[in-house]
């Protein structure tokens, strides 16, 4: 499994593009890395294990990822907090931020959309589905904002 710390990427070779994944779940980080490899072999992935680490890394380094994938349900500093912080980082201005989460709550989708994320991706139950979505993404194919099946709404 590839897990490259941001520090190792200075200076960036032009044709080496990478993703930045922030997810507190070890298994999901592994799954993502595998899917990434399948979708676009040359893409590597920088990881952060929680929101705090992600923000710290972003401020300390000067890397610019091609895509940022953020999980929402993380302890202490949530994915939403991370998105908010990243939106205030100048060099990330044009970077596509994609929510990568298990939550499909209406309010989360709306809120994150308003914050300016590019896509809202619900973690698929199928590995090949994930690979397919990532492939399309990297091929700049036209895709809807919301990617995935929605669960029934939470009772009031």
């Amino acid at each position: 499994m590839l897990d490259i710390s941001a520090k190792n990427l200075n200076p960036q070779p032009m044709n080496s593009r990478f993703c930045f994944l922030i997810d507190d779940d070890e298994d999901d980080r592994e799954i993502f890395a595998m899917a990434l490899k399948k979708a676009k072999a040359e893409f590597v992935c920088t990881m952060a294990r929680n929101g705090k680490e992600a923000i710290t890394k972003a401020h300390e380094g000067d890397f610019v990822p091609s895509y940022i994938f953020v999980d929402l349900n993380m302890p202490m500093v949530s994915g939403r907090d991370v998105v908010e912080a990243f939106k205030n980082i100048d060099r990330f201005k044009n970077v596509s931020i994609i929510v990568y989460t298990t939550s499909s709550l209406e309010k989360d989708i709306t809120e994150l959309k308003e914050m300016g994320v590019t896509h809202y991706l619900v973690k698929p139950t199928s590995f090949s589905a994930l690979v397919g979505i990532l492939s399309n993404l990297f091929a700049h194919k036209e895709m809807p904002f919301f990617l995935g099946e929605a669960l029934p709404a939470k009772p009031n």
Binding site: D24, I31, T125, F127, L151, P155
Partner: protein
């Protein structure tokens, strides 16, 4: 009346009559030559004259008919007997003497005459004085009219009226009695009459049954006595009768007080009563005892609230369970796929299978925990006297190995005895100890102490302020702690602050258990400073 003036003629001596004179002939022809006796004779009305001494000097045939006889020696009137209209003997002498002395004529007077044959007649008598032209009187002239018929008609009418009046009175009394009975015997409603100021005028059996006072005890008292003190202070009684006076009626439902101090739920209607000028003169008040219905309604409402609450909880469980089961299930599916693509790599294979197993295991635990949580609604019947020291000892035994491994330094106080569900107390202590150990630092120190709630605690937690004694049990550790801002979140179902193993339900269980025992749980913590879990439980 005709006044006769006589010419200057010498008076003649009166002739004594030994026998009745024939009717129509004037006795003193030469005295009364001015009298047109022929006219008087044919008048159908009894006319007779008397001299100053009352001796009858002239009479017509109508008089004889009236008297039933020709006059004898009777003075002033030829009837056998004369009486006043009331039946008292008539003192004719006195009357006529008085008339002659002061000259005032007698007004038309009702008398009764009695004939020799015993029959009576009602007579209207008119009498006047005859003057001699020189200021002296000669005698009197009398006209007697028989009004017996009229009188008897009157009498009959009066009797009829009397009878009718009596009948009406009787009917009224009967009607009054009926109404009275109608109201009095009603037992299900208190029907009262109040005066304009709310003082009780009337009582019925229903009022006695519902409110407890007898008629003698309550009539004359103010109806405020039926109201609770707090309502009297709020002037509720006054407002109700004023509303009735204004709008004709006032309705109210609320607690009322009986004579013995107990309360009942009354449904009351107060109606204003008016006189013919539309002034409010009093009120009728009808009260119904609906205590049973109210209790049933309250029970129903609380039951339905209960059901609603349980339904909501059920929905939450369903959501949380299905939602949180998605994650391990997803991983099983994804890793299964990934496994299929790596069938040749044995190490990878084993790794994936392990992950799949782990996920399956998590699902099992999750399901167990949700079930445990949902079953925490223990009824009173499971409560018993528990010695918490025994419970703690059992829990410590469960964690023996772990405590030794982690080299945990344990301090334990003496814990009290209280009422509770033993298995839940065990769960409570177990979860808290588990957390304390899980989040411990390298040199873990855990203390379990018991004390009274501090003044600060009582100020912060309304539950402790109800006058019941509570014990404060503190599980303190020196582990990694967390931000006090998350203090509430930690007790939420499936909320975890980091990724250490566990389903995140432990503290939610603790909260539910303490609340089920009428207590509560709070936490104070700071990152790096450990955590202090405070459990408040009611003592016996």
């Amino acid at each position: 009346m005709i006044i006769f003036t006589l010419p200057n003629l010498p008076k003649k001596e009166a002739m004594h009559i030994s026998q009745p004179a024939p009717a129509g002939l004037p006795l003193y022809n030469n005295c009364y030559s001015g009298l047109d006796t022929a006219v008087m004779e044919i008048l159908p009305v009894s006319i007779h004259t008397c001299d100053n001494n009352g001796k009858i000097t002239f009479y017509n045939s109508a008089a004889v008919k009236l008297w039933g006889q020709a006059p004898g020696t009777e003075k002033w009137c030829g009837a056998f007997n004369t009486y006043t209209a009331e039946g008292e003997p008539l003192d004719k002498e006195a009357i006529f003497n008085r008339m002659q002395t002061d000259g005032t004529p007698i007004p038309p007077t009702e008398i009764i005459i009695e004939r020799p044959d015993g029959s009576v007649s009602f007579i209207m008598a008119l009498v006047s004085v005859i003057y001699d032209g020189q200021g002296g009187t000669v005698g009197t002239i009398h006209m007697l009219m028989d009004i017996s018929e009229k009188r008897s008609d009157n009498a009959a009418l009066q009797q009829m009226l009397q009878r009718k009046a009596e009948e009406n009175l009787l009917a009224l009394k009967k009607s009054e009695e009926r109404y009275h009975q109608m109201i009095d015997e009603v037992q299900d409603y208190a029907i009262l009459l109040l005066d304009r100021n709310g003082f009780v005028l009337n009582w019925n059996k229903g009022a006695q049954k519902i409110k407890g006072y007898t008629e003698a005890e309550i009539v004359g008292q103010s109806f405020k006595i039926f109201y609770l003190t707090e309502d009297v202070i709020k002037k509720l009684p006054e407002r109700l009768i004023e509303e009735a006076a204004l709008n004709g009626r006032a309705e109210h439902e609320g607690w009322r007080m009986r004579k013995d101090g107990t309360t009942f739920w009354g449904s009351v209607v107060i109606t204003a009563l008016h006189d013919s000028n539309n002034n409010t003169i009093g009120f009728s008040k009808v009260t119904r005892d609906l205590t049973e219905r109210k209790i049933a309604e309250d029970l129903l409402r609380s039951s339905s609230r209960d059901i609603e609450f349980r339904n909501k909880q059920l929905e939450e469980y369903a959501y949380v369970a299905s939602h949180d089961l998605q994650e391990p299930l997803r991983k099983i599916q994804v890793f299964s796929e990934m496994l299929m693509e790596n069938l040749d790599d044995r190490e990878e294979l084993i790794r994936y299978v392990d992950k799949i197993s782990a996920s399956a295991g998590r699902m099992t635990n999750l399901i167990k925990d949700v079930l445990k949580y949902s079953q925490l609604n223990a009824g009173e019947e499971l409560f018993e006297k528990i010695n918490l020291n025994v419970v703690l000892q059992n829990v410590l035994e469960d964690f023996d190995l772990l405590i030794e491994q982690r080299k945990v330094k344990l301090t334990v106080d003496n814990l009290p005895v209280l009422r509770g569900v033993p298995i839940q107390m065990h769960q409570l202590f177990s979860n808290l100890l588990s957390n304390a150990i899980k989040f411990s630092s390298t040199a873990p120190q855990i203390s379990i102490t018991a004390s009274n709630p501090t003044d600060e605690d009582i100020a912060e937690i309304p539950l402790l302020n109800k006058g019941l004694p509570y014990v404060k049990i503190v599980f303190k550790d020196n582990g990694q702690g967390f931000d006090q801002d998350y203090a509430d979140q930690v007790f939420k179902m499936f909320k975890r602050l980091d990724n250490t193993p566990g389903t995140g339900i432990g503290l939610a269980l603790c909260k539910k258990i303490t609340e089920g025992h009428n207590g509560c749980i709070t936490v104070k913590s700071n990152p790096g400073d450990g955590a202090e879990f405070n459990i408040f439980l009611p003592l016996l």
